[in-house]
C-alpha cells in the first residue's frame, strides 16, 4: 500500500473528499496554483490576464494589478459564489466548476472593475436576477443578434485557388454541385484559406473576400445584399457589437484605429493572422511585433478587446440609428423609434 506523501508544492497531504469519499489528486488549496492539472477549474474562473495562445496576453493595467483591486475582485467573486451555492443548495466546489460559477465569477469581476472606475458594469442587473428568472428576463430579454461582417485576406496566387477535380471531392460536395451550389466546395481543404472560405459561407452571414495585388489589399468579392437585409431586419431591441478592422502590417492601420473609434462605437478590433510572411510583406505571424502593437494601441486608447477574427469595415452611418436604439436599451432608456 502506497504511503501518503505530502504534495510536492504545498506540503499538504492528500485529503479525502467528504462528498464522494475519493481521494483528491491535489489538495484544494493547491489546486489554483497548478493550472496544468486543473485547467478546467482555473480556465472557467480566470482571475488574471489570459490568452488564446494566438497572441501573448497583455498584462493588466497597474490599477488592476494592485493588490487591493485584485483582492476586491476575488473577494466579490468568492462572496457571490458562496452565496449562490448556499442558496441553490449546491456544493461550493460543484457550483464553481459549473458554467453558472463561471458566470457568477465574471459578474463579480464586472462589478469590481466598475467600482474601480475601469471598463465594466455594462449590464446593470438587479441583485435578485440571479435567482429570479423573471427579473433576469426583464433586464436581459430579447433576441441576441451578432452582426459579424467577415473579411478574409488571402493570397490570390495561393494553392487554395487550385480547384479540386469534381470526382475527387466528397459525395456531399458532388451533390451540392449538382444542386447548383457555388464551386467553393472545390476549394482545397488542406489550405487554411480553403478551410476558412468553405466554412464561413453560411446562411445569414455576409462575407467579403479580399485578395492581394502586390502589398495592397484588393477586394475580390463582396456580398452586400445579405448584410443589408440583416441590418434592415433589426428592430432596435438587439445588442449590436461593432468590430473594427486592423491589419497591423498595412500602412496607417494602427493609426486608423483611433479614427474608427472616433467615428463608430467600436466594441472590438479583429484581424486575421492566417497568412505568413511568405505570402507577401503584409503577412505576419500572430506572435510577432505588429499584432502586439495593435493590441497595445487598442488597450491604451480605448480598452477595446482585440482578438483574432474577422473585421467589419462597412459600417455605414445609416446603420448607426439602429445601433443607437440598441445602446439606449443597454443603458436602460426607452428606445425611440424613428
Amino acid at each position: 500500500m502506497a504511503a501518503r506523501r505530502p504534495h510536492r508544492r504545498c506540503g499538504q497531504r492528500r485529503a479525502r473528499l467528504a462528498s464522494g469519499g475519493r481521494r483528491s489528486k491535489v489538495p484544494f488549496s493547491c489546486a489554483l496554483t497548478e493550472p496544468s492539472r486543473w485547467t478546467h477549474f482555473v480556465a472557467r474562473n480566470p482571475s488574471d490576464c489570459r490568452s488564446s495562445s494566438t497572441a501573448p496576453p497583455t498584462a493588466n493595467s497597474s490599477r488592476c494589478r494592485s493588490a487591493p483591486r485584485r483582492g476586491h475582485a476575488r473577494a466579490l467573486a468568492r462572496e457571490a459564489i458562496d452565496e449562490a451555492a448556499r442558496r441553490l443548495g449546491a456544493s461550493r466546489r460543484g457550483y464553481l466548476q459549473s458554467l453558472l460559477g463561471a458566470a457568477a465569477t465574471l459578474a463579480a469581476f464586472n462589478r469590481a472593475f466598475a467600482a474601480a472606475g475601469q471598463r465594466g458594469g455594462h449590464y446593470v442587473l438587479p441583485a435578485e436576477a440571479a435567482f429570479e428568472p423573471a427579473a433576469a428576463q426583464v433586464a436581459l430579454g430579447g433576441d441576441e443578434f451578432i452582426f459579424d461582417v467577415q473579411l478574409h485576406h488571402v493570397n490570390p496566387q495561393g494553392a487554395w485557388r487550385q480547384e479540386r477535380r469534381p470526382e475527387r471531392v466528397s459525395r456531399h460536395a458532388q451533390q451540392q454541385l449538382r444542386q447548383g451550389r457555388p464551386r467553393r466546395v472545390l476549394l482545397q481543404r488542406r489550405t487554411a484559406e480553403g478551410r476558412v472560405l468553405r466554412q464561413r459561407h453560411r446562411d445569414g452571414r455576409a462575407v467579403a473576400c479580399a485578395g492581394w495585388h502586390g502589398d495592397q489589399p484588393a477586394r475580390l468579392r463582396c456580398r452586400r445584399a445579405p448584410r443589408a437585409a440583416a441590418a434592415n431586419a433589426l428592430d432596435g431591441t438587439e445588442r449590436l457589437l461593432l468590430h473594427g478592422r486592423c491589419m497591423p502590417t498595412l500602412p496607417g492601420e494602427i493609426d486608423g484605429m483611433d479614427a474608427q473609434i472616433a467615428q463608430f462605437p467600436v466594441a472590438a478590433f479583429k484581424t486575421y493572422t492566417q497568412f505568413g510572411p511568405r505570402d507577401g510583406a503584409a503577412g505576419f505571424y500572430p506572435r510577432r511585433r505588429p499584432l502586439r502593437h495593435a493590441v497595445h494601441r487598442a488597450r491604451a486608447q480605448a480598452r477595446r478587446a482585440p482578438h483574432r477574427g474577422a473585421q467589419g469595415p462597412a459600417v455605414r452611418p445609416a446603420r448607426l440609428r439602429v445601433l443607437e436604439r440598441a445602446r439606449h436599451r443597454a443603458s436602460g432608456q426607452a428606445p425611440s423609434r424613428t
Partner: protein, 122 residues
Amino acid sequence: MGPGERWRVVRQAEEYLEGHRDAPVRIDDLCVAACTSLSRLERAFREVFGVSPHRMLMLRRLAAVRRELLRADAETSVTDVATRWGFFHLGRFSQDYRLLYGERPSQTLSVGRGGLPAAQPA
C-alpha cells in the same frame, strides 16, 4: 459526454421547461424531451448548472410560487399556491423558500397584495 451533446441536452430541456412554465414538470418528461437517459441528463445539468435536475425542478417550482405570490389577490393563500405546485410539506417548503429568496412566503404574499412586508421575527 462531449460539449455538443451536453449543450443539446440542456437546450432541449430548457426549451421544454420554457414551454411548460405554468405546469409542474417531472424528470421523466425532461428525459423524453431531451431524448436522453436520466444519468446523462443528471451529468449535463451538474456540469452546466451545478445542481441536479431534481434540484433544478424544485428551484423552478419555487420561482413559480414566488411569481404567483407576487401577483396575489386577497383570496390567495400561501398554502393553496404551494400545494398547487407540489409542495405538500409546508414546513420544508417555507425553509427552502426562505433559503433561496431570503424571506418567508408570507412576506412575499403581503408584498404581492400591496402591503408592507410582515415583520421578520428576530
